[in-house]
């Protein structure tokens, strides 16, 4: 299905970036400073990552399960709104929402990054092999990606997470497979299909180039050609898709947690926070909206970086 995803092969249109090119107004701008959006995205993600890593040692981040005493000195439900005591307010069990969002970032970023790495390795290898050998290998890989794309991603994720957790409980040799790694594995599978597709499309055009011909006529074996000659040229495309994919995976992790399929009980995540507090959103909006904003800003930042990379390397992402 959706074999028409590669516009280069099926649809007759110029291979041009889907995103807006800077208007060629007579002269090319010479030195281009990174835009305000890109800088804020990098700063936000960097700051969030650092805080998430060192959350245990930073004095302004309480532990997520620490009870924050209310104005009357005793912990209670939603005692603080956004204030100096608790920046993002406190939630229904008197925990600090800011601390919970930071610890939630730890989970989301970890899951997103590991799943993306999984997707890059598996999808990249599948894509290169399919694009290089073509023929029946290509057909098999395309059927696999078609099938992965035909099943709505969130549905597949719910089924896989649920089933794998059950299996991990029942099967002795899968004991190491905690809920977090189940989610990583599941989202990694979801990330595989688009990566395999874009890598395949690029490999198809790269394999016709002269340097590949040169390597082959010098007697290089397919493995060497694929991984030493072609793969380095794929890095821009992979990087671009990886950043955009990362934003999708983080949103998917949020949705899974919201639906009750998050990481282990006791570990705060954004999706869980949204789910826990949404019934009280009218009076205590902060406990829902701040995790929402955190999720939104993270997704937005990854999208900005992905978009900028795509423009820089001229990668079409219509299909991803």
């Amino acid at each position: 299905m959706t074999t028409t995803i590669d516009p280069s092969t099926t649809t007759p249109e110029p291979a041009a970036p889907a995103t807006a090119l800077p208007a060629p107004r007579g002269k090319q701008r010479k030195l281009k400073w990174p835009g305000f959006g890109l800088v804020s995205a990098v700063v936000f993600l960097g700051g969030l990552t650092l805080m998430a890593i060192f959350a245990d040692y930073l004095s302004f981040i309480p532990y997520p399960d620490a009870l924050i005493p209310g104005p009357d000195g005793r912990p209670g439900r939603y005692e603080w709104g956004p204030s100096w005591t608790a920046w993002f307010g406190t939630d229904g069990v008197s925990n600090d929402v800011f601390s919970k969002t930071i610890y939630g970032a730890r989970t989301s970023l970890q899951v997103g990054v590991f799943a993306t790495v999984f997707g890059i390795v598996v999808g990249g290898v599948l894509g290169v092999i399919a694009g290089y050998f073509r023929g029946w290998v290509d057909r098999v890989v395309m059927i696999i990606t078609d099938c992965l794309l035909a099943l709505p991603a969130l549905l597949l994720a719910i089924i896989l997470v649920n089933r794998l957790s059950d299996l991990a409980e029942d099967t002795s040799w899968l004991g190491w497979l905690s809920r977090k790694w189940t989610i990583v594995f599941t989202l990694g599978i979801l990330a595989t299909a688009p990566l395999a597709r874009i890598v395949r499309a690029q490999t198809l055009s790269l394999r016709e180039r002269e340097f590949v011909l040169a390597a082959r006529s010098l007697g290089a074996k397919p493995g060497r050609v694929m991984f030493r000659e072609i793969l380095p040229n794929l890095i821009p495309a992979i990087l671009t898709v990886a950043f955009t994919g990362l934003s999708i995976l983080i949103a998917a992790e949020g949705a899974l947690a919201f639906l009750g399929l998050g990481v282990e009980v006791g570990t705060p995540t954004w999706g869980k926070l949204i789910d826990e507090n949404r019934n009280k959103i009218d009076e205590f909006w902060w406990a829902t909206i701040f995790p929402c904003m955190m999720l939104f800003l993270t997704v937005l930042s990854f999208n900005i970086i992905g978009d900028r990379l795509g423009r820089r390397f001229d990668i079409r992402q219509a299909g991803v």
């Binding site: 041009a16 035909a150 089933r163």
Partner: protein, 337 residues
């Protein structure tokens, strides 16, 4: 025609593989004899009932036989029985399928209705303030999945807000919100159009905005490229009105990425619908599927997933055939192949 049949075959293969894999996934780990039936029937079923169920759905045979009999049941309308809901799967699904289909349909249609005029104007007036604001907004909404939009929309449109004005205007207040019910009721358009709108507007909005943003970004990019093409200049030079150049000549040649994206976004829309249904307690396929997966209601999961996969595949088939409608070159190439 031959191309259509070929595509149909390809999509049918995908459908069979995916539904088969869903079946195998749901049965993983249920290896002991009688296990699937015991899971289906819940904890306290007696042995006779387990044996009868096993025999009826061939649950002791290999996966291919089971799949065949399930498929046969799907075709003949006997999708099995859902014990947690104590009703046949077919009636369980038929009571909910319209909700999700309507949500998805509205999301795509409204997404196109909003995005196409926006993107065309953006591309036409490139780099104007309209274009810049539009691009920024669509970029923001691309990054706002259903789970982010739902709480925000709840605060703005569902909650009744009263905001006091500062300073000399403190006697006045702004009130807004409270226009839509908090819990979505399943009211179908043929029952009560107004109520249907009130109940479906918010979930639809949550699904539509990100989709519209994706569409308009793609279309704007392609449109900008098309407007620089020679045939557009030629059309203007011949004296074709700008409106016709824009909406007929240029738009038609810019629709390919958009079309591809409609097919690809279907899966995402289904995912968004699951979240939106859960958030607004709208009783549709999404909520049903989540609870069915959690309670290992095998037949419900299989049948509902099959319906969703079939709709995704169907939309993609339509998209593939639309390429030929849009572009005579593709049509002729296919006719020759």
């Amino acid at each position: 025609m031959r191309y259509a049949l070929q595509k149909f075959g390809q999509f049918a293969i995908v459908f069979f593989i995916v539904t088969f894999v869903v079946m195998v996934l749901m049965r993983l780990g249920l290896n002991a004899p009688g296990d699937p039936a015991r899971t289906l029937l819940g904890g306290t079923a007696d042995q006779a009932l387990i044996d009868a169920t096993t025999a009826k759905y061939r649950l002791d045979s290999n996966y291919f036989t089971q799949y065949f009999f399930w498929l046969k049941g799907m075709v003949t309308g006997d999708m099995g029985f859902s014990v947690p809901n104590s009703q046949p799967v077919s009636s369980l699904i038929s009571g909910r399928v319209m909700t999700t289909l309507l949500l998805g349909f509205y999301a795509i249609v409204w997404g196109l209705i909003i995005s196409v005029p926006f993107a065309v104007r953006q591309a036409y007036k490139r780099d104007s303030w309209f274009d810049k604001i539009g691009s920024g907004a669509s970029f923001a909404f691309v990054s706002a999945p259903a789970i982010v939009l739902a709480p925000i929309v709840t605060l703005v449109l569902i909650k009744e807000n009263t905001i006091g004005l500062p300073g000399p205007l403190s006697d006045y207040q702004i009130t807004f919100g409270g226009w839509f019910p908090r819990v979505g009721d399943k009211v179908y358009p043929w029952q009560d159009l107004g109520e249907h709108f009130r109940n479906f507007f918010v979930p639809t909005l949550v699904l539509t905005l990100p989709i519209a943003a994706v569409f308009s970004r793609l279309l704007r990019g392609d449109m900008v490229m098309t407007l620089q093409a020679d045939f557009v200049t030629l059309a203007s030079a011949k004296g074709v009105s700008p409106r016709r150049v824009l909406w007929v000549h240029a738009l038609r040649n810019s629709l390919f990425s958009l079309l591809t994206s409609v097919g690809l976004q279907i899966g995402g829309i289904v995912g968004g619908a699951i979240v939106a249904e859960q958030f607004f307690d709208l009783d549709g396929m999404g909520t049903m599927l989540v609870s069915a997966i959690l309670s290992k209601d095998l037949f419900t999961v299989q049948s509902a997933a099959a319906i969703l996969v079939a709709s995704v595949v169907f939309v993609n088939l339509i998209v593939d055939l639309m390429y030929g409608v849009l572009d005579p070159r593709i049509r002729h190439a296919r006719a020759l192949a």
